[in-house]
Amino acid sequence: MTTMKTVGLLLALLIIGCTPPLNLEPQMNGQQLAFDRKKGNCLACHRIANGESPGNIGPPLTHLSTRFTHKDALVTFIEDPTRFNPETSMPPFGKNNILSHQEIQMIANFLWTLPATQTIIP
């Protein structure tokens, strides 16, 4: 009887041990979300401080706090830039569910903190 219990307990422990913890995927920070090709991939088009091999389709992302009145306006822009310029080639990240609202906020937080003087890798 006790052996049955022990076996049962061991099995239970084994099962718990094998179940992957929820949220296995490490949380990306704002910079990672902006740089990652499967996420924002903003470097495809923009130069961003410390970002390697950027494209040159959009303007360099610096001085954003002087370009937008507040951070929420930056979030709104990234959600759907076609609202501001229907001809733009920048994808509507929020509207087309490329990024979640939370991810866009994290990217905006990251971009907002970039000092304007920081070097841009060409």
Binding site: N41, A44, P54, G55, I57, T82, S89, P91, N96, N97
Partner: protein, 276 residues
């Protein structure tokens, strides 16, 4: 009688053809647009796609051309071309002018079947006429045949015609609309990258202009590690923007090829070639 019918059709068409957006005007406007944007490039240069704009890429391409990786495909195509079918006929009986080069005339509007016919399809029509099974659009044997025929057409100017019948104009217009419509999760049109941002860089990739995008096919892509078709490249660009992919040789892609090739009229055929 048929002649009369033709003229009636032809004249009947004239009033509805708008004076500004005819295919010929599209072609002149677009070619002029790119000649102005890239004033140092000659008409021939545009046939080299991205190499015309990126000197580093051009250097590595010229190095690869020392031992062209598409040569095997040309040889295989040549062999296929002269191998008789079971009924004793050969491809050359279908394509009597092959020696002068025929690729520059494809795709064309077929008045009988009222559809755009690509070179790949014409090869399959020849097979069916001779009671052979058609080859799959991506079959190595078919790609090899088009490689051989492109090789025979090298330096011949692209010469696509759009006959003055409404259905042909519609096919051209569908191709044009497709090129300019946004699609996919990333919301791009072909024009967003290859007209609006031609010459700019997407990460490290320089974007080629629409002018000249059809001249170098089939092409050996380093990424594929083999010679592939224009329609496979189209499909790759659809994937990039997370869009639904049409099938190779589908009507959508044939009309797209018709539009794009017509706009590149006058540029030399230089396939098969090499791309990254």
């Amino acid at each position: 009688m048929t002649k009369l019918l033709f003229w009636l059709l032809f004249l009947g068409l004239l009033p509805i053809a708008p004076s500004t957006a005819t295919p010929l005007n599209d072609q002149r406007t677009l070619q002029q647009h790119f000649f102005t944007q890239f004033p140092t490039l000659s008409r021939q240069d545009f046939a080299n796609g991205v190499y015309a704009l990126d000197p580093d890429a051009k250097q590595s391409w010229l190095a690869i051309e020392q031992f062209p990786p598409y040569e095997i495909a040309i040889d295989r195509g040549k062999k296929n071309f002269f191998t008789p079918f079971k009924n004793g006929q050969r491809y050359q009986d279908c394509f009597v002018d092959y020696q002068q080069g025929i690729s520059q005339h494809y795709p064309y509007w077929d008045l009988k079947t009222k559809t755009v016919v690509t070179l790949s399809q014409a090869i399959n029509r020849c097979r069916q006429l001779n009671l052979e099974a058609p080859l799959k659009p991506t079959a190595g044997d078919l790609i090899a045949l088009t490689a051989y025929l492109a090789f025979l057409s090298r330096d011949q100017p692209i010469a696509i015609t759009i006959p003055p019948v409404p259905a042909a104009q519609v096919a051209y217009q569908q191709g044009k609309d497709y090129y300019h419509q946004r699609r996919g999760q990333l919301n791009f049109s072909c024009a967003s990258c290859h007209i609006q941002n031609a010459g700019k860089r997407l990460r490290t990739e320089t974007l080629s202009p629409l002018l000249g995008q059809t001249s170098n096919w089939p092409t050996y892509r380093l990424k594929w590690g083999r010679v592939g078709t224009l329609h496979q490249r189209f499909i790759g660009c659809h994937r990039q923007i997370r869009a639904k992919t049409p099938a190779p040789q589908s009507e959508v892609l044939r009309n797209l090829e018709y539009y794009m090739s017509y706009l590149s009229n006058g540029l030399p055929i230089n396939g098969p070639s090499v791309r990254k």
